[in-house]
Symmetry: C2
Subunit: 480 residues, 2 copies
């Protein structure tokens, strides 16, 4: 019993120390563990099962929009990485380099892919010849490496899992539409599957992807008001195509350059799930990606008929396609309650001798802890309604947090005051000059532009920093 | 039209030049392409879709047998790799080494995983404390790197995709049972999904995995009589556990070492699919893993009603859960026939104005080219029966090839004669001494022991090489 208690001992309070609370959850909900390599993590079964559910859902969305999966090598020869100059400047400083293969020193260093634009371009140059070969709508699930100085599980690691879409199009307009379509796919996925609302828009020049013409971003807000770059979609114009000499014969029989996009989301989304939804008792998972959606816990399980009935409930819920676990181990029910709360299981079903007598069971939802008694005749429909309601409530709670922690700054003083005292997003006007971004970041200890939303409000006529005429309304915030 | 013809121009004949035929298929069936990095390939959409179907099927089998997926880092510090001495001797010579991270030289070189026993052991040491923590039944889908000198797409590449299972058990017997269970999972998968028969058994000491107590293998035979190591399952005893100091408190309250297994199959299976089933017109895919199971080709598609009817047939086949493609492009039907044969699509449905009049369509199976007219009223059941029959026929044809190309050698002369003149497996007795394996390999230009089968025949009393008393019957053969 001593060991059992220890396993579910309290974690650090979220309001007391958000960072420690976060790593406590990663550890105690058995999502990930540290490895012996700096900045690399072991993704444990519970964490990986969440990732598998994320993959399955997203992959369906990608295929529905016409994309095909491929696999490119993990190595990028240094000369290939250097073909696009902005791109190499952005990524070379954080590459891991292979210099020895077998027992021989390599003639040319190989970067482990930090992202694969260059590899896709090398391949596109071979397989695109005519407008009939377009569009190419490719995606890849893989791991990438970026040699990070400070790391945190899921949020920033030297190696992480992600998907990277890479597409080539006949016209500029088609590529731009693809870029925005994929941002919308991400936005829908965040809302419909992760129950996470977010601000979306375009990155400023300063914050855009190395080599892109335009970068679009989805920026969910964490419970403590800090932003997370939740996914990006890039429009490249024909810049890479020119650098890599990718051409096709058009409908007019003339040689031309195709237009390109790329877009990606990563295991960082698991970090977002923690920081948006979870609480002092552990993980809270939205039902759609919870590896276990319902935990069935028998009470007084040694009493006659209890385990049988619990097994029956499990089978009935499996039957309607839910992911269910019956815990009939010899641990105490109280320990089990805490354990499945820690793991973020959306619904707990309790069933004991008295419940059986009354032809009922107890449903406890993880998000609000609300407890209801349900007739066993209505088990399936009630559980399904409850799962839908949990998703809805979680989304609404996160949306309320986003609204409550979004502030408007009309003046420089207001901006600095909010940055210091009210964690969250700041909406403020901006002149378009990156010098102002630098100044605001310095003055606030790290508040950066998050994005220019698709619909801008006209909060005032002048830049919140320099007072010159404003060009855009920008969402600002600190980031993970 | 000129370009269309070129796309489906004849490939090298299989009987003329097997190696060139193989690479022609890889290229023309659009499975893979070469990349700019020696020995690394680009897996194209059609090849990757096969891999996805393989993954889905195998992953279900792994989960049904209680395994969970995880993800370990891709890097192994040199000191970690060195902890088990046989293992490091086996793998260090073919590792790719990262020596620079960002702009700094690393204090310790990092190998890119050639296999992940050491990483799993490091993690197991942390999470295994009590017999209650056992078994640990983990699997990982990832890519690994082995710096190969000579490479061929899918068969031997410097980077390849695979799954690696790693399990830890309380008792030796349980671990041995797991090792054999997973070999059986592979054998079932080869038969039921890939339609490939194989010989299975134990590797000799000389051929076993670096660090294993025993290695079990599945050895399918290619059409030309050459063997392929199709998958392996290893029993480690407690050797790694001792090297990595992994201990647990047993039921007797004493500290002890757990027993370990690992097992893996890779994208090499796609190579086996080509070399077992395919022919001079391209790929032939077993229905269970074919990305497209049925291609619907309209004939005289500009005639009224043809495209509508073709679309109707497609929808009806989609409805029963098949993977169907309707090709309504403006290419000629003949070109389409050849193209979907090249891609290995198991069934082609042809539908034209005359067929519509007669309420029928034409079904052409890829494996035998047999053509049947089918009433549209019986489309679904006929297609499903045909798919099952194609699987069966493909398996039987491969089995016949395996039987026809398996020979028995009673004497040294017979062995050398068969090795020179009859490509295939040789069954022959062996004394158990690796010196005889070396000698036979040298004398035959590469015939090696494939495995000791679970049921051995007593072909004679003496070793086919040295004449000393025989210990085992061994399957011998050349390998890819």
């Amino acid at each position: 019993m001593a060991q059992q208690k220890k396993l579910v001992e309290a974690i650090t309070s979220r309001d007391e120390d958000f960072a420690k609370w976060y790593t406590d959850i990663v550890k105690k909900a058995e999502l990930a563990d540290y490895s012996g390599i700096k900045g690399c993590m072991v993704i444990r079964p519970h964490g990986y099962a969440i990732w598998e559910n994320i993959q399955k859902d997203l992959d369906e969305r990608f295929k529905k929009t016409g994309h095909e999966n491929v696999y490119m090598p993990m190595f990028i020869p240094e000369s290939l990485l250097q073909k696009e100059k902005d791109h190499v400047e952005g990524f070379a400083p954080e590459c891991a380099w292979v210099t020895v293969g077998g027992s021989e020193k390599l003639n040319e260093r190989l970067a482990i892919r930090p992202t694969s634009e260059t590899l896709f371009c090398e391949h596109f140059a071979k397989v695109i010849n005519s407008y009939r070969d377009l569009p190419k709508l490719y995606n890849q699930w893989c791991s990438v490496v970026r040699w990070e100085k400070t790391t945190r599980p899921f949020l920033r690691t030297s190696e992480f899992l992600w998907q990277e879409g890479h597409t080539m199009h006949e016209t500029e307009q088609e590529a731009q539409e693809e870029t925005l379509q994929m941002l919308q796919v991400y936005t829908d996925f965040y809302k419909e599957t992760l129950a996470i609302p977010a601000v979306t828009g375009r990155k400023t020049e300063k914050e855009k992807f190395a080599g892109a013409v335009a970068t679009y971003t989805i920026e969910p807000m964490m419970h403590n008001g800090v932003a997370l770059q939740g996914g990006t979609s890039h429009f490249f114009g024909d810049g890479f195509a020119r650098s890599f000499d990718i051409t096709f014969t058009g409908r007019d029989n003339k040689l031309q350059y195709p237009f390109q996009t790329s877009w990606g989301v990563s295991t960082r989304m698991i970090g977002a799930l923690i920081m948006v939804h979870s609480d002092d008792d552990g993980l809270v998972l939205p039902p759609k990606i919870a590896p276990i959606q319902v935990a069935v816990i028998p009470v007084a399980q040694k009493k006659e008929g209890v385990l049988e009935k619990a097994g029956e409930l499990k089978d009935r819920l499996l039957e309607i396609g839910l992911r269910v676990k019956l815990d009939d181990s010899d641990k105490a029910p109280g320990w089990k309650f805490s354990q499945y709360e820690m793991l973020g299981v959306p619904i707990r079903v309790e069933i004991g001798p008295k419940d059986i007598e009354k032809n009922q069971c107890v449903l406890v939802r993880r998000d609000t802890r609300e407890k209801t008694f349900v007739s066993l005749d209505k088990l399936e429909e009630t559980v399904q309604e409850l799962l839908a309601d949990i998703h809805e409530s979680m989304y609404n709670a996160a949306l309320q947090n986003l609204h409550e922690k979004t502030f408007v700054a009309h003046t420089h003083e207001e901006f600095l005051d909010i940055a210091e005292n009210k964690p969250g997003f700041i909406k403020a006007m901006w002149c378009g000059d990156s010098a102002c971004e630098d100044q605001l970041k310095d003055e606030t200890g790290g508040v950066k532009s998050r994005c220019i939303p698709f619909v801008e409000e006209q909060l005032s006529d002048t830049c919140v920093c320099c007072g010159k005429p404003a060009k855009h309304m920008v969402y600002w915030g600190k980031q993970y």
